[in-house]
């Protein structure tokens, strides 16, 4: 009997070790080795290659453009994300479930399709083209379209983070605030917003990561004009295609570094959010 039990235990331990080894191997193959490879390659090329790349006007402009697109996207999706989430959870109206489904559409759409749709709407011969043409505003193959598609793709992130939190905290505090005579705005800023702040921060962090990394849609709507409509990811794409691999690697590594920093922020936010949730 005891022999049977100990072989069972030994078997379980072996299975456990095997499973840990298998999963760690999978993660190493898919995530860690690629990271190590690029760090190694850039390190081997040396500091001069890094400084040479990061002082090029095209590269600086690309980073600047990525920053502009990202900041505007975060602001717009942040503000509208809070409003839409609040409407979805707190209001009852016809078409609510439809709105709920529509919010998820960017998850189902390929970024390429989003870019294509923007070209069809705003591009030459597009539905909205005459309107903007008459006013002399260049939408497609310019910054407005790049911001537009990035916002579209990032819409669900903040909403999907805030909705469950709003559902969980319920109406009690908000009702109490309003019965005590606080205005709707006052209640929102003093009661609702503090309750959803970690969810909002988490949504913003996810949005930032997505906006920085966006490629599929901007690939189509930017027109890929070097030094003009080129974001950091588009720079990497062009540099690689033009065999300027050293530059492509350096910019890729910088983006990876920024993203890893962002991930650490995301993880700590999630930690706090969970702590707060278990407390309440």
């Amino acid at each position: 009997m005891s022999v049977a039990v100990s072989t069972q235990v030994a078997k379980a331990r072996r299975g456990r070790r095997g499973l840990i080894a298998l999963t760690l191997g999978w993660v190493a193959l898919l995530l860690l080795l690629p990271l190590v490879a690029i760090v190694w390659t850039v390190a081997k090329a040396g500091l001069s290659s890094v400084t040479h790349t990061l002082t090029q006007p095209d590269v600086l402009h690309a980073f600047q453009l990525t920053a502009i697109v990202t900041v505007i996207t975060v602001l717009v999706t942040g503000v509208f994300g809070v409003i839409v989430a609040w409407v979805l959870v707190r209001q009852r109206f016809h078409g609510r479930s439809l709105l709920n489904a529509i919010v998820d559409i960017p998850f189902a759409l390929s970024p390429v399709t989003v870019g294509l749709a923007a070209v069809v709407l705003f591009g030459p011969g597009g539905w909205f083209a005459p309107f903007f043409q008459a006013r002399g505003i260049q939408v497609i193959y310019a910054l407005p379209a790049m911001i537009l598609v990035t916002i579209f793709i990032c819409i669900p992130f903040t909403i999907r983070e805030i909705v469950p939190v709003l559902e969980e905290i319920g109406l009690d505090e908000e009702d109490a605030s309003r019965t005590l005579g606080a205005s709707v705005w006052h209640t929102f800023f003093k009661v609702t917003l503090p309750n959803i702040r970690w969810a909002l921060a988490y949504g913003i962090a996810l949005t930032t990561a997505r906006a920085i990394g966006e490629i599929g849609a901007v690939l189509i709507v930017s027109g890929l004009i070097q030094g003009k409509t080129e974001t950091a990811t588009l720079f990497i794409f062009r540099a690689y295609e033009e065999r300027q691999t050293a530059e492509a690697y350096v910019v890729a590594l910088v983006l990876a570094g920024v993203s890893v920093g962002l991930l650490i922020v995301i993880e700590s936010l999630r930690h706090r959010q969970e702590k707060e949730r278990t407390r309440t």
């Binding site: 379980a12 299975g15 456990r16 499973l19 840990i20 298998l22 999963t23 760690l24 999978w26 993660v27 898919l30 995530l31 860690l32 080795l33 690629p34 990271l35 490879a37 690029i38 390659t41 489904a101 998820d104 559409i105 998850f107 189902a108 759409l109 390929s110 970024p111 390429v112 399709t113 870019g115 294509l116 070209v119 069809v120 591009g123 996810l206 990561a209 920085i212 990394g213 966006e214 490629i215 599929g216 690939l219 189509i220 990811t233 990497i236 794409f237 690689y240 492509a248 690697y249 890729a252 983006l255 990876a256 993203s259 890893v260 962002l262 991930l263 650490i264 995301i266 993880e267």
Partner: protein, 224 residues
């Protein structure tokens, strides 16, 4: 759809998406299990590392795969000597897609596993069930819909993914040209109508899958 190469691109995308979804279903469940149930050094780091694909841009993953399997790298040379070419083949597409979708199943299964009471598993074990039977009869039914949701999400993401694929796949028509890259190449030739046809087809599949995922998640929440 009479666009030459369209069906080949859609077929390649559907095949690679199926392979990646299946791999991710198995490995994602295993990873979630290891992260939730086992205690070992590096577990918390592992739990953060699996989220890397959510943070690092997909194109950057593509670049990293190029470096890792390129002719100048150790892994690329080794693979070459045993007769495996990774870059610019369907294998590179599968690798890239596996990387960017790695967290999807884990993040769906993990919360369910955390809430699952291991008393049931212990009861099954005490009653003499082997570990395999316990997993199949006790654990799997509880996490099935979460695994399914993560797998569908993976599949639908694979249908639209371009950033990680475009550099590593080589984009040879009829061979390694996926549907999203095909749409991109059509639009850069200003063939918008044809691009829209392929895009609409992909979107139809993807939208049904996302709706199904939402329903699965709701079902799970209702059953809790």
């Amino acid at each position: 759809m009479a666009v030459p190469g369209a069906w080949a691109a859609i077929r390649l995308t559907l095949i690679t998406a199926t392979i990646v979804a299946a791999l991710n279903a198995v490995m994602g469940t295993a990873l979630a299990w290891v992260i939730v149930r086992y205690r070992f050094p590096g577990r918390r780091v592992l739990s953060t590392v699996v989220d890397l694909p959510l943070a690092i841009p997909t194109l950057v993953w593509g670049v990293m795969i190029l470096v890792l399997y390129g002719p100048n790298s150790f892994l690329g040379r080794t693979a070459d000597t045993v007769g495996i070419t990774v870059l610019f083949t369907p294998l590179a597409i599968v690798l890239a897609l596996c990387t960017v979708t790695l967290p999807f199943v884990i993040r769906n299964v993990q919360p369910v596993l955390l809430e699952l009471d291991d008393a049931e598993e212990e009861a099954a074990a005490t009653l003499g069930a082997t570990r395999r039977v316990t997993f199949r009869r006790v654990v799997f039914p509880a996490i099935r819909s979460a695994v399914m949701a993560g797998t569908l999400l993976t599949f639908s993401r694979c249908l639209g993914e371009i950033g990680s694929v475009i550099l590593v796949s080589g984009n040879r028509t009829g061979h390694t040209l996926t549907a999203p890259v095909f749409i991109f190449s059509l639009t850069s030739q200003f063939r918008f109508a044809e691009a829209a046809a392929v895009a609409t087809f992909l979107f139809a599949i993807s939208f049904v899958l996302v709706l199904a995922t939402g329903r699965l998640v709701k079902q799970r929440e209702a059953s809790e």
